[in-house]
Symmetry: C2
Subunit: 119 residues, 2 copies
DNA sequence: GTCCCACCTGGAGTGAGCTCCAGGTCAACC
DNA sequence: GGTTGACCTGGAGCTCACTCCAGGTGGGAC
């Protein structure tokens, strides 16, 4: 099981080091292990969890809800149905967002066409 | 040409009255006309522009860029090619956003499926 | 006349999500 | 032994986009 330095995790995940520390501070990331010098050494598991975080974040899930999800994960396997519920609800919102954005894109394209017609 | 009271515009556009005042203050909305008592009376044109604003905002355009667009509109017809460029660039970003969200949605759904398989 | 209500203004405050800073540690290289 | 560079901590500061507030006006219903 390999470990990752902060710089490697920044490279892998696209989060800044400050964001990683912030996520750890607020409990979105479990306490990351340290080496003898006190520097963070991330596990494969941390990096994979950060991938999930990125996905939820970039689809618009607020931190408070990601925290709820993190707590469910921490609480163990008996919370899996709750996690499913949470993710399904989020999936529904993402679906709506995409549909709305498609509609708005059509509006923008109509506007562009109109402008093209008058130049 | 009908006019709209603040309450009607709130109803029509979904923006709060504070947001409308804010948009006017920063110049995203042209100075709105007032009646004898100093109360805002929005025109059809204002409401339609607010529709455009909503569309751009909800697809993630920052206020600074909407302001640039508003200035182009204000500057007159010779800026139409610039407006097209701006909107096309935005359209491209919206397209990317949607594609990214679709990919992330697939990830979420995979996660849900996995959870379902272990319950 | 007085009450309420919708609205006005300028300016302060808020919440989310980071981002930056000062001052320090440790290991490695010259 | 000095310098560099990656990292550490706690806490302050920042950006964005609003949102709220205090104190006031004008018009209509009772």
């Amino acid at each position: 099981m390999s470990v990752y330095t902060p710089a490697e995790v920044v490279e892998e995940t696209g989060f800044s080091i400050d964001t990683l520390r912030y996520y750890e501070k607020i409990g979105l990331l479990d306490r990351v292990e340290r080496n003898a010098a006190g520097q963070r050494r991330f596990t494969e598991h941390d990096v994979s969890w950060l991938g999930t975080i990125r996905c939820l974040r970039d689809t618009g899930m607020p931190i408070a809800e990601m925290l709820r999800f993190a707590e469910l994960v921490r609480a163990g396997d008996h919370t899996i149905t709750d996690r499913i519920k949470l993710l399904e609800e989020h999936d529904r919102r993402v679906e709506e967002q995409i549909a709305q954005q498609r509609a708005q894109q059509r509006y923008i394209r109509t506007k562009i066409s109109y402008y093209r017609s008058v130049v």
